[in-house]
């Protein structure tokens, strides 16, 4: 067959052409007379195919590179910002991975509810309150530290030492900002403050969502959830849904319309509700006990990512407030929307406005899996998700948990632990620590906050290095999508091993110590260099660059 002539060969064979007046249409070189007359020898069909083919192959190669670059640099890669309001940003299909019990959510001991003092910011705020009121100061020592926070730290004196160190670092950080030492971070500080105090903590009552603690502080009148959660309900009877499925579909769509990227719905599980914590009640609900409001039956969990370029340039150029702000907006709007339908609703939202721990609900509703760093990873965004929730009594069709092998990846990855500037993330091979009845890699919250206090942020809040360096925290481009889709379907584990090898060897990630502030011996390194619009020296006079950038471009 290979030696048989094909149609083109037959057409092009000079022997098959009739002579005209004794002259061959083609000469020995295979060129026709008209071609010779026109001196267009280089444009013969054969040469066109030969050299055009080479050019086409080169163009294909160059086009692949150019297209790849454009895809990587494109705004479309910045997933999770609601380019559509149809939920299209949820590009990972969870249905093949549904399971009955979420990974690491099978109790291994007696399940205990978290107490308010398990939440580091309740401890921190109480200490600051004691210092402000003059009741106590660090010079008086742990023994005289009053209240519940004193009891907590007397049980955990090693944590107390770290907290005192953190307060010292926080004071030093404040000094640096006040003296202008941190002016290279001017733009990220302005960005943070705009979102934080322009958007989230406006001191004149214009906050979203409405906060029962603010009302209690203003009026002195307790606002229990049985009152607060119904405050905008005008209907005598709530609108009846055709089915729980209809309720789920509508509320998820509305959550997307209100700006969220990912949303899941589950049954409210009181095991993950704080004891002694209830906003709107005296002392933040310190005497609330373990009561669970009867109308807290379902929970809608949703989240958005922090902006990617800032996240990759943590610590100094990053803030949580951009995602906090957006998730709060969704929470406030969704809370009101549900009230308008005649149902009670209570927003649980960042920074500290919760009666619940968010992570277990993210796990039980199938949003993601628990990670080594103590955060929940979701398939679309990795650890880069900032959740909020609304609790209500609508009867929904609940989402089941998922198992997509993300936690399995954590067993062998450990990149977050290697890059953690404060050593707060466990290096244990397996999640061996029992935390309130569940096996976990336990994040050392006190050490984590110690880094926050010493970081290069305007408010001494946040580090986020573990979020940026997590291999799952990657943008929405085809190359990461292939990884996300292949890895959970591979029964051999070879895909994850290969991906991890690439992650560890191809990518340049600074060491944990390098992320620290210069006054602690660090380089103030970043994983990626900050985007141009966060480089103060590029847009302002009088800021001379006296530092080096250590991240990737």
């Amino acid at each position: 067959m290979a030696k048989e002539k094909d149609a083109l060969d037959i057409i092009n064979d000079p022997a098959n052409y009739k002579k005209r007046d004794g002259v061959s249409e083609f000469d020995a070189d295979g060129l026709s007379q008209p071609q010779k007359a026109g001196k267009s020898a280089g444009l013969s069909r054969r040469n066109f195919l030969k050299f055009g083919g080479v050019a086409a192959a080169a163009t294909t190669l160059a086009g692949s590179g150019a297209a790849g670059f454009a895809i990587g640099r494109s705004d479309d890669a910045y997933t999770g910002y609601g380019r559509t309001y149809q939920g299209g940003d949820m590009f990972f299909n969870r249905e093949p991975f549904r399971v009955d019990t979420a990974v690491m959510m099978e109790p291994v001991g007696k399940v205990e509810r978290p107490d308010r003092y398990d939440f580091i910011f309740d401890r921190l705020f109480e200490i600051i309150e004691h210092i402000k009121s003059g009741k106590w100061n660090p010079g008086m020592g742990l023994e005289k530290l009053p209240g519940g926070v004193g009891e907590y730290y007397r049980k955990h004196p090693e944590k107390y030492k770290i907290m005192m160190d953190s307060l010292g670092k926080r004071a030093k950080s404040r000094e640096d900002w006040n003296s202008g030492k941190a002016e290279r971070y001017t733009i990220s500080a302005a960005y943070t403050e705009a979102l934080s105090h322009g958007g989230m903590y406006n001191r004149h009552g214009a906050t979203v969502p409405e906060e029962p603690d603010d009302v209690f502080k203003e009026t002195g009148k307790p606002v229990p959830p049985e009152e607060w959660d119904f405050r905008h309900v005008k209907r005598k009877t709530p609108m009846a849904f055709k089915s729980p499925g209809h309720a789920s579909r509508l509320i998820k769509r509305m959550a997307h319309l209100f700006g969220t990227s990912i949303v899941t719905i589950g049954k409210f599980d009181p095991r993950f509700m704080f004891t002694n914590k209830m906003r709107g009640m005296p002392n933040g609900g310190a005497d609330w006990g373990d009561k669970v409001p009867e109308h807290w039956k379902s929970i809608i969990v949703f989240g958005v990512p922090m902006y990617w370029d800032q996240t990759y340039s943590a610590i100094g150029y990053c803030t949580s407030y951009d995602a906090y702000f957006r998730s709060r907006i969704t929470a406030g709007l969704l809370e009101r929307f549900i009230n308008e339908l005649g149902y009670p609703a209570r927003a649980q939202f960042p920074g500290y406005h919760y009666e619940i721990m968010m992570e277990p609900y993210m796990l039980t509703t199938g949003m993601g899996e628990y990670s080594r760093s103590g955060m929940v990873m979701v398939p679309e965004l990795g650890c880069n998700i900032r959740p909020a929730a609304v609790v209500t009594n609508i009867e929904f069709e609940y989402d089941q948990p998922i198992s997509v092998k993300m936690a399995e990846f954590c067993l062998k990855c450990k990149i977050c632990a290697e890059t953690c500037p404060s050593g707060a993330i466990s290096f244990d091979d397996e999640p061996n620590t029992e935390v309130r009845g569940f096996k976990r890699w336990k994040l050392d919250d006190e050490k984590c906050y110690n880094q926050w206090a010493a970081g290069q942020t305007v408010d001494a809040l946040g580090c986020r290095v573990c979020i940026g360096t997590c291999p799952y925290s990657r943008k929405n481009t085809w190359i990461h999508t292939i990884s996300r889709e292949l890895e959970p379907r591979d029964p051999t584990g070879l895909v994850s091993t290969g991906l991890l090898a690439m992650q560890k060897n191809f990518f340049k990630i600074p060491k944990g110590q390098d992320f620290q502030s210069d006054w602690l011996g660090g380089k103030e390194a970043t994983y990626h260099n900050p985007p141009w619009y966060f480089k103060a020296e590029e847009v302002f006079k009088d800021i001379e660059q006296t530092w080096e950038y250590h991240g990737m471009n």
Partner: protein, 101 residues
């Protein structure tokens, strides 16, 4: 690929598809000029390897585009070189093969 346009992306990918015909036709012409022949499946393997190499280049540059330049160049280096070697082996096996006795 072309921000701000609604049509050029499609034109680009259609053009990329069209020139693939030229790539394959060109290879056949070169083979003919060297008086070599390959079967369709051999050509398929060689072309598949070329496309896979293009995907590696695209992947590497996607990472570069994401400001992961270090990872992107390593990606092309570590995955691209094996592709070049594989293509050379395929060409040796299918094109410059020893004449059958």
């Amino acid at each position: 690929m072309f921000p701000g346009t609604t049509i050029l992306n499609y034109v680009f990918w259609m053009a990329m598809g069209l020139i693939q015909a030229l790539v394959v036709a060109g290879v056949y012409e070169w083979l003919k000029s060297f008086q070599k022949t390959v079967t369709w499946w051999q050509m398929g393997l060689i072309y598949g390897c070329f496309l896979s190499f293009c995907a590696v280049v695209a992947g590497g540059f996607t990472l570069v585009g994401e400001f992961e330049s270090h990872g992107g160049w390593y990606f092309i280096g570590y995955l691209g070189v094996p592709h070049v070697i594989a293509m050379a082996i395929l060409v040796k096996l299918f094109v410059f093969k020893k004449a059958q006795a």
